[in-house]
């Protein structure tokens, strides 16, 4: 097996134009390198500003596998801090969210830090006099993540100095976040409806790839959406279509539907399905909502916002949003064969509650650990994680509708059943992995 840590060329060889080596999914060293490089060189979603409205409010989360906190500082800016006391390494907070007041206090030795991480006080501090303590890493306080950007309420952070500025990294892909936020008559979202957490015994990238895989719904979800269609056909003529049926049925749409919906890719691994329409296009109108949108934006603009029905937008490396229903999924890597999926929903500020009700129902029906749609997705991921151990073929194919003129980091639109976005992700994967990988000379020689 290659020594990936000391052989960037071997890492590069894992990704070919139309296939990827199984080690990107199963190899522990490749996973460790992803955490050190890929998740440090890219902009990662941390949280939403509505989760920390007041000074001292914080949430605990992760970037890759590293614990971080997002906190509202006393000057009302949002900071992202590594969640680790500079003294002995103790995680400062364990609650998913809370308010820490004007400072964080470590539960071990009561070292205290301001909400931007800077040191506040240490008990019995005379014990550090004349020890050169000021020069130590510990004296600097909680380390802040240096690169933080709040885009319309969505807070992203980048750990390394390497990599790109926020605007260059995301480019035109931000149009999907724009559309999600613009759907609020007030132009604002709030986290609402609770979070679903679902543990997956598979590699995190299988989940990300599945978000733009449009050839699986009518196969893997025949058991749920197909049964729904069958039972619904038996309903007496004129029965009003329940919201749940409206959510399930489009999963059984024919291949042509998904071919025609289109896929668009952007530089740096971002992309989305549903350029022209999506499974969210034909939901029933919610009374009063359109009028609110017209009042807020004017009729033309309101129609243009609501006419955009993107399906899944992947923000590389590990989140997906559904603009038309204000839903976000975060695929949190835990190990090469373990991933925590968090599914969040947002309220469109000032819009009717029925929109949140539908969003919350979608989340429950599709993304809960008791979801009959989620069950069959997880089943195929876990079978892949296991099947990849088989010999004879070490490669995973990502060739569907491959164009020989495809270029890395271009914006392009194509047939909705293409695996172009999956190839786009792997080209970005290679770029951001190798960006900071250097051979350790001491080991290499």
């Amino acid at each position: 097996m290659p020594d990936y840590r000391n052989d960037p060329a071997a890492v590069a060889r894992l990704v070919r134009e139309t296939e990827v080596h199984r080690d990107v999914y199963v190899n522990d060293e490749v996973f460790a390198l992803e955490m050190e490089h890929l998740f440090a060189n890219t902009w990662n979603y941390v949280g939403h500003e509505s989760q920390v409205p007041e000074s001292g409010d914080y949430i605990g989360t992760t970037i890759g596998t590293q614990p971080v906190m997002m906190v509202r500082h006393t000057d009302m800016t949002i900071k992202v801090l590594f969640n680790r006391c500079p003294h002995k390494g103790v995680r400062i907070t364990t609650e998913p969210s809370g308010n820490t007041g004007r400072m964080f206090r470590c539960p071990y030795h009561a070292w205290c830090f301001k909400t931007d991480g800077s040191p506040h006080s240490i008990p019995l501090s005379k014990g550090y006099q004349d020890t050169g303590f000021e020069e130590s890493h510990a004296a600097q306080g909680l380390t802040a993540v240096r690169h933080v950007h709040n885009y319309r309420g969505f807070v992203f952070a980048k750990i390394n100095d390497a990599g790109m500025e926020f605007a260059e990294f995301f480019g035109d892909s931000l149009s999907s976040i724009d559309n999600m936020v613009d759907r609020s008559p007030a132009g604002r979202l709030e986290v609402a409806g609770g979070v679903l957490r679902y543990m997956h015994d598979c590699n995190w990238k299988m989940l990300v790839e599945n978000q733009t895989d449009t050839c699986h719904p009518m196969v893997a979800h025949e058991s749920s959406a197909g049964v729904t269609a069958k039972l619904w056909r038996k309903a007496p003529e004129g029965t009003p279509k329940p919201m749940a049926v409206e959510i399930y049925l489009p999963f059984m749409s024919p291949y042509e539907f998904f071919e025609n919906m289109g896929i668009r890719v952007w530089p740096n691994g971002h992309g989305h399905t549903g350029v022209h329409h999506s499974i969210h296009s034909d939901y029933s109108a919610v009374p009063g909502y359109f009028d609110q949108m017209v009042a807020a934006y004017g009729e033309d603009r309101a129609k243009s916002i609501l006419g955009e029905n993107r399906h899944n937008t992947v923000y590389f490396p590990n989140i997906m949003i559904k603009g038309p229903i204000q839903l976000m999924r975060v695929f949190r890597p835990i190990s090469a064969n373990r991933t925590l999926v968090e599914s969040w929903t947002f309220r469109l500020v000032d819009a009717p509650d029925m929109l949140l009700e539908r969003t919350v129902m979608y989340n429950r029906l599709i993304n809960a650990s008791a979801s009959i749609v989620g069950h069959d997705d997880l089943e195929v991921y876990e079978r892949a994680q296991e099947g990849l151990r088989a010999g004879g073929n070490e490669w995973v194919n990502i060739q569907r509708l491959y164009g020989r003129d495809e270029r890395q980091d271009e914006t392009a639109e194509t047939n909705g059943t293409s695996e172009l976005q999956i190839r786009n992700q792997f080209r970005a994967w290679k770029k951001f992995m190798l960006m900071s990988m250097t051979v350790d000379e001491a080991v290499a020689t």
Binding site: G193, G194, Y198, T228, E357, R364, S369, A370, L378
Partner: protein, 160 residues
């Protein structure tokens, strides 16, 4: 039987769990009233199933879809099939309204699901809202509160 006594109510809850263990899902769905729900909250002491998400909040149509799906030849996550096992404490009758024909029972339980070599134990409290109608006792709401409702689980395949 127009007014059930406590033992009737308790037997109903115990037999309902047995029905699940025996995989009689079609019969089980018919225990629910037409407006009945099966609810598994995701938040501790959750009060709202509509604007807050849940692990499950299924009306009778959705329960029928689940029961039907379990029989399907292309239900890949049920190949092989999941089995389940309930251990109930004696159900306690928390509320009786004989005039209205409405009853509430509370039942602590341990629930096991197993498939292939995996076996998972869950601990929960079931709250049954039963109604007495022309066809006998029926479930208007079965609420299952997991002690660790907010933990990250793998797939929960069947019904607790």
């Amino acid at each position: 039987m127009s007014v059930p006594n406590d033992q009737d109510l308790i037997s109903f809850v115990v037999r309902e769990a047995r029905m699940l263990d025996e995989q009689r899902f079609d019969e089980w769905v018919e225990l629910f009233t037409e407006d009945g729900h099966y609810w598994m909250p995701v938040e501790w002491r959750q009060s709202d199933p509509v604007l807050t998400t849940s692990l499950m909040y299924e009306d009778k149509l959705l329960l029928r879809i689940r029961a039907e799906r379990l029989k399907g030849n292309r239900t890949f996550s049920e190949k092989p099939r999941t089995r389940c096992h309930h251990v109930l404490q004696t159900p306690q009758v928390d509320r009786r309204d004989d005039a209205g024909g409405e009853y509430v029972l509370w039942t602590p339980m341990h629930y096991v699901e197993t498939r292939l070599d995996q076996q998972t134990l869950y601990a929960a409290w079931a709250t049954h809202h039963l109604v007495m109608g022309t066809v006998g006792l029926q479930i208007r709401l079965k609420r299952v509160d997991l002690v660790n409702c907010d933990a990250a689980f793998g797939s929960i395949h069947l019904f607790m």
